[in-house]
Amino acid sequence: MTAATSPVDRTHLHRNGTALLGMMMFMASWAMLFSALFFAYFLVRQKALQWPPEDLPTLPVMLPGLATALLALSSAALQRGLNRIRGGLTGAAMNVGGATILGAAFLICQVVLWQQLVGAGLVPASGTYASIFYTFTVFHALHVLIGVGALMVLTVSAARGRFKAESHIPLRLWTLYWHMVGVIWGLMFVTLFLL
Amino acid sequence: MMLDKLLGLFQMPHDASVHGWRIDSLIQITNTFILIMFGVVVAWIAISMLFHGRKHKAEYDTGDGRKQMIKAACLSVLIFGVVDGNLFASGMADLNDVFWDFDRAEASPNVVRVQVNAHQWAWDFRQAGADGAFNTADDIVSLNELRVPVGAPVVFQIGATDVLHSLSFPNMRVKQDAVPGTITRLWFQAKETGAFDIACAQHCGTHHYKMRGKLFVMPMAEYRDWATEASKLGQRGNDPEDHGAMWGWNWEKARP
């Protein structure tokens, strides 16, 4: 970051720092929410007679694996966009837009996954295994949905050149959010589909 | 004395168990401790209000001199050590020696075993009949009424069908939640005969207040006679078609 000299810059920097701190608090809070969900997962699983229950359809790995890759790429693209803006380079809108599309693609994967599983007879009421699966994926997908919505707006802003090397705080905060959503998905992928 | 009268409001129900005195005496000890501490606090406030009022000149004292800090810290650690240390030690001993020592209770030769099924809003009790095994035709099953002998450990395995309940014996000083899907344990040993209340101590819906039971503690010989008779009755009244009646479970398997 450049050294700020004028009072206006100081105010501005201070405000950015404040926003960033607020975002950290929010993320800490939401991390606790998800931790509680994982805690629920571990307790329920420990108590279950069988995991996964034999009479229920098994969860696929390929499709969610693909989704995981898409979300990871999306995170990377967004970070790249942010880096570009920070470095004063152009073309960030492409990155942000790409991230949006990848995020949307992730959602499509999830919808397909749910359709397949419901078709195969795994519904939320089929016991705790299904409860955990749907709660995790749907609740997470809602976060992705919000993220995709925000990224769409950010794409437009970026395309209009709203973000500068020294003023791009919305992009920065949403990038953090997006990474967090990605990391949580990574953990969910491991617990739900691999373990 | 006024204070005596007021403290006299604090009465526990009659203690009918062999080990209840442990809880009662620990409560007494705690009473003493907290009355002393509360007394100090009240006296301190009262003296300050009376003697250190507007007319008194305030003494400038930030309380962070080395000595003062050490004094305050030591004092609170001391109070903590004496009071909480005592409670902790006694509490641990109570649990280890009695209330959570199920192995010893079960090892007793004349132990009585009871399975409990709590449901809205009644207690089902089940004792093994003459064959000594649970969930067989000769079980002694009763609703809301439980008969146990005096002087023998009574061990419970508790389950529930619908919501949480809590099996509470105020006169024995113990209680244990009944959790659907889990089997929990409880034991006590009565020291005298008589009829006592069984309460549900966990909010379980509209008629929670009505979920009462009765505990009859009988002399050993009388209990034996009753149990033999009741087992026979149970055998005779058993309807093999009624699967719901066999809500019991294997005792040993449910032991952790």
């Binding site: 606790m32 | 907290i34 300050s48 250190h52 909480d84 619908d162 209680k175």
Partner: protein
């Protein structure tokens, strides 16, 4: 160079009074809302006490209005809804908005020398989400089968469709989720504001202890309210979408879930929550004993450390609510020792407060009386926690009225009285006036004596073994002899309720009258008292520079130089060393 530019005050009515982003306006909004809901919760408390005194008999006056369908009587089902909603409203919709929503908003910026919160818009949203949650909450009374009735702890399976069908329970859990969101929004604001917007010279160790209390509370809010959110979310899913997290027993599919899981989640939140409610009160007490004892707060840093220790410990003791669930014995014992450990910092705090008033020059104004009242009732309340922390005595006392007595003395007495202390103390900054001292003192003496009697009455019947949440406890033969005790407790409780009318009169009359208070009626040195009463929209014309701690009272040098016993946190003392 100014990090917090002054914005022109808004001109439209809506922006000024309704959707205002001014922290002082939001503080007043939270206060009014909280007091209304306190009155609501108080009326429910009166119904509870009626039921304990005269089970199943027609409720006079109120019965005709709210219970007309059941002939003016409380049915067992409606009684369950009454105590459930009493507990929830008092905790989340009354004490929280007053102690945290209102005081937090008012004093954090004023006492640390900021012009507003870090995120004013978020602050406004926080209040309006709170209002939405209140609307959902109140609506739940009007749906079929009535409001929530599974207890404030909403333990499943009772709180699932198995035990409480109907939309009321679902709506209340949803309202709880919303009020949680509002709380987190506020908390993020408070924590950030304290970290980022302290005036120059306002180091952490120069903050008033009230700010410390609110700050630590907010950290707990940020970290643990979401856990309640998760629990509520899973419960709603169980109720609405047929998931199986907490269903077990007969209604379960494939073995079902685990009802105890909910208790874990609830108390991981719930225990910090009780300290969330007491930490601001502790902070207020610690400041006010100093201000009105005209002495510095004894071992200020010790109090700060003690409050921090409690904050940290509060996260690891929650299992003491579950001693009788059949938890692993090792775990149970660990929770016992950790719980007992929390009384060590509490004792230090007490010693510090008591040392502060010792050899002081006490001004027994209304706020000071309420403060001393808090010390008195909290001593009793905290000490009764010891019986519950020890597992073996808790085996007898768990889920009896003794527990109810314990937590009423801690929150319904200590946090409740601390709210009055704060309202009286900061009234000049809230409404630009002082409340009437005579009425205030009458209200105090009635409240403190009646509260002590009522809640000791709860303790006594609990000691005798009376289970809580009983529609008619006297049907138990072993409790039948307690009827007179319960009746007397109730008479005193009705008197307590009536005594609150004094406060209502005193509060409303002064809140709507013309401001006339001096800037610093209590003669103390914290920053809010350097401003006019009420302060201007932007608080500080110039952001002050702080040169000393908040409690420099009766310092000999100050007295010699300035001829008064207090000095502001910003004042220069010529040639002075403080």
């Amino acid at each position: 160079m100014d990090l917090q530019p002054i914005h022109p005050p808004p001109t439209s009515f809506l922006r000024r009074y309704v959707f205002s982003t001014d922290h002082k306006v939001i503080a007043r909004q939270f206060l009014w809302a909280g007091l209304f809901l306190l009155a609501f919760g108080g009326i429910l408390a009166m119904l509870i006490r009626w039921q304990w005194a005269f089970p199943g008999q027609k409720v006079p006056v109120l019965g005709q209005i709210v219970l007309s369908r059941s002939d003016g009587k409380l049915t067992p089902a409606s009684y369950n809804a009454v105590f459930t909603m009493h507990g929830l409203i008092m905790i989340f919709w009354a004490i929280t908005p007053i102690l945290i929503g209102s005081f937090g908003n008012l004093i954090i910026p004023l006492q640390i020398g900021a012009r507003d919160m870090a995120f004013p818009t978020l602050n406004m949203l926080s209040f309006w989400v709170f209002i939405v949650s209140t609307i959902v909450l109140v609506m739940s009374f009007f749906v079929q089968l009535g409001s929530a009735s599974a207890g404030w702890t909403t333990y499943p399976p009772l709180a699932t469709q198995v035990g409480t069908p109907g939309h009321g329970q679902t709506m209340v859990v949803a309202a709880l989720f919303l009020v949680g969101v509002a709380t987190i929004m506020g908390a993020i604001n408070y924590v950030t504001t304290v970290i980022r917007f302290r005036a120059p010279g306002m180091t952490y160790m120069r903050m008033p202890l009230a700010v410390w209390g609110l700050w630590l509370t907010s950290i707990l809010n940020i970290l643990f309210v979401p856990v309640l959110g998760a629990a509520g979310l899973l419960l709603i899913l169980d109720r609405v979408f047929g998931t199986q997290f907490f269903i077990s027993g007969a209604a379960a599919v494939r073995g079902g879930g685990d009802p105890i899981l909910f208790q874990h989640l609830f108390w991981i939140f719930g225990h910090p929550e009780v300290y969330i409610l007491i930490l601001p009160a502790w902070g207020i007490v610690a400041d006010l004993v100093s201000f009105f004892g005209r002495k510095p707060a004894y071992w200020y840093k010790g109090s700060v450390y003690a409050m921090c220790a409690v904050t940290i410990l509060s996260a690891v003791v929650y299992g003491h609510h579950m001693f009788t669930t059949g938890m692993n014995p090792m775990l149970g014992k660990a929770f016992m020792i950790l719980t007992l450990l929390i009384s060590a910092p509490a004792e230090l705090l007490f010693l510090n407060w008591l040392h502060t008033i010792w050899k002081g020059s006490l001004r027994l104004t209304t706020p000071m009386l309420f403060t001393l009242g808090v010390v008195f009732v909290f001593a009793l309340g905290g000490l009764t926690g010891l019986y519950l922390a020890t597992i073996s005595t808790d085996l007898y006392l768990h889920d009896t009225m003794f527990v109810v007595g314990h937590f009423h003395l801690t929150m319904a007495a200590a946090s409740f009285l601390a709210s009055f202390a704060g309202i009286h103390f900061w009234f000049p900054k809230l409404f630009g006036r002082r409340m009437n001292e005579t009425l205030g003192k009458i209200h105090f003496w009635l409240s403190i004596s009646l509260i002590t009697i009522v809640f000791c009455g709860q303790l006594a019947v609990g000691y005798a073994g009376a289970p809580r949440r009983m529609w008619d406890p006297h049907q138990y033969p072993f409790l039948a002899n307690l009827a007179w005790l319960n009746q007397w407790t109730s008479y005193f409780a009705f008197a307590l309720g009536a005594a609150q009318l004094i406060f209502v009169v005193n509060f409303v009359r002064n809140a709507i009258a013309r401001p006339n208070a001096e800037p610093n009626p209590w003669q103390v040195g914290t920053l809010e008292w350097t401003l006019s009463s009420p302060p201007p929209v932007h608080n500080f014309d110039v952001i002050p520079t702080v040169v000393r701690g908040p409690h420099v009272l009766s310092h000999p040098e100050v007295q010699r130089t300035l001829g008064r016993d207090w000095i502001s946190q910003t004042e220069d003392l010529p040639g002075g060393s403080v």
